[in-house]
Symmetry: C2
Subunit: 339 residues, 2 copies
């Protein structure tokens, strides 16, 4: 069923398992006690950053399938993408799994697009079980999007730090776990920001647009959700999305948390916070889904990851930064056990 930009999952597919892995810097923060694997070496035993990223993603996918009690290869498809050119982390990880693969790209909102499409496939009976996964690596992202680490460039205060981590969720038509109840497909929004070091400002309008569309399509007020979880707006972007929504009559300030803002321990010097496809993927699949599964105060979450759809070429050619956010509603059952 569809209303505006929002699709509704009448069969309430379940997130029957999830897994996450993160790097040492990330695990010094809140992720440390929630991830399935806390890396002590962000090379993960590999010879290049790109291979380390790929290995994290594969590890998370395989771990999530294992945690779901399934044999390796026990899902019908993998929905995945990542920040590297030609989404090679996802493609190469999918090669190792031997599973049918649907490649997607939505920059740092890849996790929510994967969950949304995974919801469609399982809810509609086109798949029994799918994996939704993504990840990122600080060093591969710096090398591709900015400068080689060896240059030692200084970082401006509005910048964010790409999370080294990956997260994966197994979505099943039946089973135990928090339910996917609906999802809102985002539009590409561009407020004219061209500063590639200020992704929070670029992405906040897209997050606001999708959250507003979601509230409109569902007829819900922000307080329907215990948590409105944006992807990686960082500290500045989080203030902006709250302001933009308040201007348009939706006050989310009481229940809004941004994955990028909370991922690092305050002692870390990463300016606005975390970013990268792995940021919201690890925070959701480790921290937030653990809370949803345990029951308690967090029972309804709107997960609205955000992505900036630029490339180094578009920035070099003077284009501004188009951004997007996709949102999915994840709800534990009335008993608060997510079953």
């Amino acid at each position: 069923m569809q209303q505006g930009q929002t699709v509704f999952f009448e069969n309430r597919p379940k997130i029957v398992a999830s897994a996450a892995v993160a790097g040492p810097k990330e695990c010094a923060g809140v992720l440390g006690e929630y991830v399935d694997l806390a890396l002590t070496d962000d090379m993960f035993g590999e010879s290049t950053f790109e291979r380390a990223e790929r290995k994290m993603l594969l590890w998370a996918v395989e771990k999530s399938i294992e945690k779901a009690g399934l044999p390796p290869g026990g899902v019908d498809a993998v929905l995945s993408g990542d920040l590297l050119n030609q989404i090679v982390s996802a493609g190469f990880a999918a090669r190792e799994t031997g599973l049918p693969f649907l490649g997607i790209y939505s920059a740092c909102s890849t996790m929510s697009e994967a969950l949304l499409l995974g919801g469609v496939l399982t809810d509609g009976g086109y798949a029994g079980r799918v994996v939704a996964a993504t990840g990122s690596h600080f060093a591969s992202a710096e090398r591709q999007y900015r400068y080689p680490l060896e240059l030692g460039n200084t970082r401006p205060p509005q910048s964010q730090w790409t999370v080294t981590g990956a997260g994966s969720a197994v979505i099943a038509r039946t089973g135990e776990g928090p339910s996917l109840t609906c999802g809102t497909v985002g539009k590409v929004i561009d407020f004219g920001v061209s500063d590639v070091n200020n992704m929070g400002a670029a992405m906040a309008p897209a997050a606001a647009d999708t959250i507003l569309a979601h509230l409109r399509d569902t007829g819900r007020a922000p307080d329907y959700y215990d948590l409105i979880l944006t992807g990686d707006l960082g500290a500045l972007g989080s203030r902006l999305v709250e302001d933009l929504l308040a201007e348009r009559g939706a006050d989310i300030s009481a229940n809004h948390v941004d994955c990028g803002e909370v991922v690092y321990a305050p002692a870390e010097d990463e300016f606005q916070g975390g970013s990268g496809a792995g940021c919201s993927a690890a925070v959701l699949n480790a921290y937030i889904l653990a809370k949803l599964r345990r029951g308690g105060g967090i029972r309804r979450v709107l997960f609205a990851a955000t992505g900036a759809l630029l490339s180094t070429v578009t920035s070099g050619q003077g284009d501004t930064i188009p951004c997007i956010a996709h949102a999915v509603a994840i709800e534990a059952d009335a008993r608060g056990r997510g079953a």
Copy 2:
């Protein structure tokens, strides 16, 4: 409904309109009489190759919506991706449409992934109408994947020529046109080819794997289809896929055509033929869908576009080339009018 890697569309969503645009070299071949717009200048009035590519894609999307008799913005979502890093052609084109956007990436098999997911969304009632679109540009692909054109590098005889063109299809739950009846999600297949100038050899095993899976899941023989249309294997790759399938008991040689092999006029000096996401997109949306709509000998088509999931970084780091093919069945009705 699902069987193995194949999803079935019980409501038979229709391709109610399609549109294509292609460059001068392409329009010297079969595309010339079928595209909606034959460019005389492959810059399309833009200042960079990348902007020309983006403009072609946007043009095809908008034209297909217009041909469907819909107002601009009269579809629920755009499913699109392309070969450029971070699929910027698709993202920037989607920004101009203002439509909800689902970014996908499957290299040169993006068209079939878009049709497959578009089939799921419309068949399942998650969208009334969606656009599936992709494109490519010779010059932007050369610059990104190989060498600047200004270098004048020679091309090896096993190479293919990236098509300058774009194609777009409007898929609707109800309406007139050829039906999407099922789709097969491909696995990532890697036979160990590492020659980035020999994509046909790299991709042929993936095409064979998906076509075999499709025949197995549907219980069909190759002659169920009037046409088995691979994406951009080129001349060599086409021979390989036929051989690989014959070895495994499926003889497709009588009804197999490859978009890359037929796209250029024989007089053109492009070695193995065409490639690029725009190759199968333009050939399908202009040439093949015209045949399906007119009725006649072509009433059942299996469209199996192929993609190579490498990047310049993975090749530089010594990796082989993982490939994929997704397939969709497109069928005209019994009266041969595609209604």
